[in-house]
């Protein structure tokens, strides 16, 4: 009862305050916002991207975003270091020791369908990043759910048997990183600044809006984040017994 009274008092206070102190609504576009709009959506040297946030993120704040991405990759490298194994131990981890009874048929079938849908949706989030809310990191995070679902419904070994093992995931991640670096460095060749969007990359190809370098950044970030998460998930899915065996822990 006491808690309920406190809750009601708190809610009333918040709503009253929100009603009394209304946030002033801006009546016209501020000069800074006008500058950003002018240079990312309108204008001749803009990316013509309707999603101005992505444009700002990869263009004006490009270096910042690059370092943000670097933090994520350092985290992945850290977890890879924690799980460092020798060649024999890698092989040991990849062999399925006990045959586990598979999950019921409906779960496996539905997982297949949902995984296909997740792949489509994540690609759409990443490749539409310059037109709609979304982008490479979000798309990559959505992509990483697909291998996670497969690990849960089948097993980690099913993923590895079909060719997506830790090494492949790391190679994909490295391709993504390399792509981001190359797209960032290409403007230097023609005497522009690093990570510059225009006028090196065309804003449109055959009338299709691709937003300059934004689509390349989004695609490579999508690849790198998805594959990086997949590598970590594969490591986390190693059974505990295997690690006990490797580390020599007695029961």
């Amino acid at each position: 009862m006491k808690r309920l009274v406190t809750l009601i008092l708190l809610l009333t206070a918040v709503i009253t305050l929100a009603y009394v102190f209304q946030v002033p609504q801006p009546e016209d576009v501020k000069p800074l916002g006008e500058f950003y709009l002018e240079n990312s959506y309108f204008g001749d040297y803009s990316a013509k991207s309707p999603e101005v946030i992505t444009s700002i993120l990869w263009d004006y704040r490009g270096i910042d975003t690059l370092f943000e991405t670097a933090v994520f990759f350092l985290a992945i490298i850290g977890s890879l270091t924690v799980f460092r194994l020798t060649k024999e131990q890698e092989k040991e981890v990849k062999t399925e020791s006990t045959q586990v009874e598979p999950l019921p048929l409906p779960i496996r079938t539905v997982t297949k369908v949902i995984v296909a849908m997740i792949l489509a949706v994540s690609a759409s989030i990443a490749l539409h990043g310059h037109l709609t809310p979304g982008g490479g990191f979000q798309g990559g995070s959505a992509l990483a759910v697909a291998p996670l679902l497969i690990i849960a419904a089948y097993s980690k070994y099913a993923l590895e048997k079909n060719g997506l093992d830790k090494t492949r995931a790391l190679i994909l991640r490295s391709i993504g990183l390399l792509g981001i670096a190359l797209v960032a460095l290409v403007p230097l060749l023609s005497g522009s600044y690093i990570m510059q969007n225009q006028p090196i990359f065309p804003a449109e190809i055959n009338g299709q809006l691709i937003g300059g370098s934004l689509i390349y950044y989004n695609f490579f970030e999508f690849l790198a984040v998805g594959a990086g998460f997949t590598a970590v998930f594969l490591l986390l899915a190693i059974p505990e017994e295997k690690f006990k065996k490797i580390l020599g822990v007695r029961r």
């Binding site: 779960i107 539905v110 997982t111 369908v113 949902i114 849908m117 419904a153």
Partner: protein, 119 residues
């Protein structure tokens, strides 16, 4: 035509609300894990899929709405995904609970055991 779609959609949304209510009550009041799982699935299928289809019909019927085909398509696809995923999730939960014997299992009727016994 749009009025018919409106009424069908509205009725489906109301059905969804009722199913959600029954699902919530069942989740609180039912005796054991498996029957509660049934109530939860009533909440997801009846309470999420049916109203989503209802929203799709409503949006199709509303001529004044901008992007009404996008709204209808998104609702319909979301409904189908939930329709696929909810039974699979419930199956996985029931299977896992049965497998590790976490939940007490006292069936009144066990058709599977009868069938297996007759073989």
């Amino acid at each position: 035509m749009s009025e018919i779609l409106f009424y069908i959609g509205a009725v489906m949304i109301i059905i969804g609300g009722i199913c959600d209510l029954f699902g919530a009550i069942g989740l609180l009041r039912f005796p054991n894990f498996y029957v509660r799982l049934h109530a939860a699935t009533v909440g997801t299928i009846g309470g999420a899929v049916v109203p989503l289809f209802g929203v799709a019909l409503l949006a199709l019927g509303a001529d004044f709405l901008p992007h009404r085909y996008a709204i209808a398509g998104a609702s319909f696809i979301t409904g189908i995904i939930v329709l696929l995923a909810a039974p699979a999730g419930a199956t996985a939960l029931a299977y896992a609970a049965h497998k590790v014997k976490l939940v007490e299992w006292k069936p009144k009727v066990d058709h599977l055991a009868e069938v297996r016994g007759n073989d």
